[in-house]
Amino acid sequence: MKTLTGAERVFKALQLQEPDRVPFHEGPNRKIREEILPGASDDDVVEYFDLDAVGVGERGLPGYRIETLDASHFRNQWGTIVRVTSESLGIPVEGAIKTEKDLDTWHPPDPDEPWRYEKLAELVKRYKGQRAIIAAFQDPFNVANEMRGAAAHYMDFVRNPDLVDRLAGLIRDYHLRLIRNCIEVGAEIINFAGDYATTKWPMLSREHFAKHVIPVLKALVDEAHSGGAYFVKHTDGNIIPIIDMILDTGINGLHPIDPNAGMDLGEVKKKYGHRVCLVGNVDCAYTLTWGTLEEVREDVKRCMRQAARGGGYICQSSNSIHSAVKTENYLEMVKAIRDYGKYPISI
């Protein structure tokens, strides 16, 4: 097979076909980047690692933080107070919707603000046709968790489901507009990230997911598809009890098939590989953090054996290249993906 562009490679995988090699587009974290390529530009990093896709994450845009509160805290566009930690996105500590009355005076952010699309437009101009263009957002279920506080939001499913739906609807409508705008600018893959499960079970019952969460996800997927874009969903945790519902929304890719929640990449590939492209699964909780180089190589080989044959697989970590990932392990993962990811997979 002729050598494909990164974009062609990623799209073939999302179409459940075999490209020339397994796609890879997970860049390093800030610390690794500065260690390997001090002072490098974003373009330098993309070229150096030859990433098959480039992307913009909404939460990383400066305009997402609307107010700096102190050295450790900011308020984001949803009104959530976020604490800055060693992880790049920070952690929410207090939501804006403490009571239902707060929702009466709360206004969603404006999805038409031009600043939201400037970085995306730059990527499209620079890379369209060569590397796939991703626009990434936070799942409305998880935005609502932050806005209400997780415990209050979960209890709302039992004591005030109308509030759940009201809040979810406002967040959904913002994102529908955002997806449409991003596709107009040139985004080719729409990525929504947010956990639906803990390491043991989904956060909610199947009934609650079916009634309140899945319809929102389906609306987002339909919007992406109607604009000609692919849709990739990230969720950690053991989603096996609800995976059928998630796949029924029509998502094109699913990340990461969480190994720390006991999910087996090979089993999921066997059962669902004909429906969805699997993404990720190289363990970042232990292997990329504390493992040896040999363990990293073996884990990449495992992923290739379990998921890459026949196509429909994009290789990356099982969550993210977080701050505790060792530089040499990240580099070993990248090398191993190149070494073992050529089709036909022969390991």
């Binding site: 929410p92 415990a151 039992v158 019952s205």
Partner: protein, 213 residues
């Protein structure tokens, strides 16, 4: 549920209105608060815990049961304090916090809820707690157990740092240390010198009971 008392059944059913009514009636009938706690709340939360661990109920239902238990505990607390004597002291005191750099707390709060429903007195130290803050809390109080929660691989080392800080401050022998969090394992607990690791809230309740025996 046939063997459960009405209060316990209301807790399992997450019927907050009914549980308040029944608890007040029990108190008015001079049922000792400790008996209500031991036979009704603990029994009810045990069933709730089992339902959660088996996937019969999920976070919304578990948290609502916790709210129901809180209603009972708020009614019982002043009576428990009175019945324990002037100091109101208890030998089941725990401090729990999420370690430095980590602000995840839903798992920790579920553990706290289950422990309180089993008669433990909990001090919630919050999130992003430094080793020094943990040491100060241990120094100034008489906790039997210190719980260190960490959800992220990157923050788990702070569980070790906290144990080392306790040793350096001469406080390690004053308290048993338990760890928990999605990425934690018994192996990690052994490696860092923790006294206990628990995988979930139900296991925490069982293991803490053994830890102070």
């Amino acid at each position: 549920m046939a063997d459960l008392s009405e209060i316990a059944q209301s807790l399992v059913a997450r019927d907050i209105a009914k549980i308040e009514e029944l608890t007040r009636a029990a108190i008015d009938a001079n049922v000792p608060a400790q008996e209500i706690l031991d036979e009704d709340v603990v029994a009810g939360m045990q069933v709730v815990g089992e339902q959660f661990e088996s996937g019969e109920i999920f976070l919304p239902e578990l948290l609502m049961a916790g709210e129901a238990a809180k209603v009972v505990m708020n009614l019982l607390k002043p009576l428990l304090t009175k019945q324990k004597g002037v100091t109101g002291s208890t030998d089941k005191k725990v401090a729990i916090g999420t370690v430095q750099g980590d602000v995840h707390d839903i798992g920790k709060n579920i553990v706290i809820m289950m422990l309180e429903a089993n008669g433990w007195e909990i001090t919630n130290l919050g999130v992003d707690v430094s080793p020094e803050e943990f040491c100060a809390a241990v120094k100034e109080n008489d906790f039997q157990i210190l719980g260190l929660s960490a959800l992220l691989t990157g923050t788990m080392p702070n569980q070790r740092e906290t144990i080392e800080a306790l040793k350096a401050a001469g406080l390690r022998g004053k308290v048993k240390v338990a760890i928990g969090g999605a990425m934690c394992t018994q192996g990690w607990a052994d490696q860092i010198g923790a006294d206990c690791y628990a995988a979930d809230a139900a296991e925490t309740v069982k293991k803490f009971k053994l830890l102070i025996q």
